[in-house]
Symmetry: C2
Subunit: 307 residues, 2 copies
């Protein structure tokens, strides 16, 4: 068996990192000994907390992907969020929970996606389908990603299945979901050491709304004001990003994970899309969006519909 590269999206979050590790575990149990997890960027604070807690090493960074390399994609399918050279790779499998966009293969492949809150919920089903036992450490990684993606089941992306699977995993991992989950999410909100440039790139997705090129970045926090104390510097970083990367709209969402709201900064020449989408008037380039926590369900589709 040739080497198989497993990885999640750029700007990796806890789901992308742990899903790569969990998929490596599953592939090895299924006999693909050459499967190995990689990452496409820096480990964030939340993921660092998870890996330390369960004493698991972070995947190596993927330096380059040679032509015809065997790859397995987790937690993404969009080539623009994937590794350089993905278009010429040999994609064996995809396990994902996003819409399908900018994805194409010349051969049939194993592709499973479900409209659930987290990739790990689907991976749990694959363990069940293949009758492979989940070790406590692996269960801990999987549980952490579900907590992360669903903000402890509070996000509208969370499904009944995510919650049921999380409960099963918590038993195997032997952790209390509420207390562990809150600690983990809080660890992720420690944004102090990031520069404004890093902040707006921590978890950032490219998208399109009508003819507009859009970038939506998101950070989680326990205190919105704390993140926005350097608002002007963040705006400068966003404007630079817009210029360098040719975007019509950049939305930076600062999400309060305690109260489930978001404050957004919107810049670019198409901020009208934001005003129409959320029926707000931007003041100082900002708007407060009560109840909005999910980029995938509550921001990107709304922008698309109103472009």
């Amino acid at each position: 068996m040739e080497k198989t590269f497993i990885f999640g999206h750029k700007n990796p979050d806890t789901d992308s990192i742990t899903s790569s590790l969990v998929m490596e575990n599953l592939e090895k149990k299924l006999g693909n000994g050459e499967a190995k997890a990689y990452r496409l960027g820096k480990i964030n604070k939340e993921t660092e907390y998870v890996l330390n807690y369960f004493k698991v090493q972070a995947p190596e960074i993927l330096e380059n992907l040679e032509e015809k390399s065997n790859v397995i994609l987790v937690d993404h399918n969009n080539f623009s969020e994937s590794a350089e050279g993905i278009a010429k790779a040999n994609i064996l499998k995809v396990v994902d929970h996003h819409c399908i966009a900018n994805f194409e293969t010349s051969s049939p492949l194993f592709y499973i996606a479900e409209p659930v809150g987290c990739t790990e919920t689907i991976l749990y089903e694959l363990y069940m389908m293949n009758k492979v036992e989940i070790e406590p450490k692996i269960a801990g990684l999987m549980l952490s990603a579900i907590i992360s993606d669903t903000l402890l089941f509070k996000s509208p992306t969370c499904t009944k299945k995510d919650e049921e699977v999380a409960k099963e995993l918590a038993k195997i991992a032997n952790v209390d979901i509420e207390s562990y989950g809150m600690e983990m999410l809080k660890a992720g909100t420690d944004l102090n050491e990031f520069t404004p440039e890093e902040l707006i790139n921590l978890d950032s997705k490219e998208s399109e709304a009508g003819s507009a090129k859009v970038q939506v970045a998101q950070v989680n926090t326990a205190c919105i004001e704390e993140v926005l104390k350097d608002k002007e510097k963040i705006e400068n970083a966003i404007n630079n990003f817009i210029k360098t990367n040719g975007r019509n709209l950049f939305v930076f969402a600062v999400t309060d994970i305690i109260n489930s709201n978001s404050q957004i900064i919107a810049l670019g020449d198409r901020t009208d899309i934001v005003e129409k989408a959320f029926n707000v008037t931007l003041k100082d380039n900002m708007a407060f969006l009560p109840g909005v926590v999910s980029r995938k369900k509550q921001i990107i589709p709304v922008l698309k519909e109103n472009a």
Copy 2:
């Protein structure tokens, strides 16, 4: 629950027709009473034989798809092979065994694809996953599609899984695979009543090879000469198709299912791709391709690689 439209690709083959019916059965058993199978074209002779044998009614033809209709796609994902209006439909699920191309959704969905020979092999797994029993009639439909897509396990697209699933289904349906399968395949080779225009459209797929727009049509037969007795009329039909639909290459493959070979007619301004791909020189626009029976594995990818 709102109405859900289930359908396979245009120019439906046995897999597309039976998978729609089987998916309707599964959805109903899972509580979606409003799911209904449709078809996007005429039933072919082979499928007619199958439906008669198992006493199942053909799905209704899909007349039009309103905006935001709920749909489930089986046996295809490419919008160009799907219903008119698919881009504005609400795609709930896809069950498929092809490469992913020209497919995009704005919301996450249930998508399962596997590199197996037939959609029904994946549907069998979905019955197992959901612990739903397969009735003899349904098993018969599923088995027929596997036999059809794999040419009784002789096609290189056939996997071990297809063969294993077919054996299980044959037990439930209580049919002998070999004798039933041969009769069914032969029924499909009765091409006498088709006009040349119909022949080249019976099972025809659009594709791209480099910058060339390509159409690859295929018919199965027990006697290649019999199909090509009106070669000139077929060539006229192909040339008309090329003009009307703007293709650079049309490959019409006449596949001998007894001996597992194909005779092809290639027309258009890029027949050089065919000559390079199969290392042949076209004579009278024709070439004989020994061992070639699968458009998906042995024709389309080879054309793409050599464009």
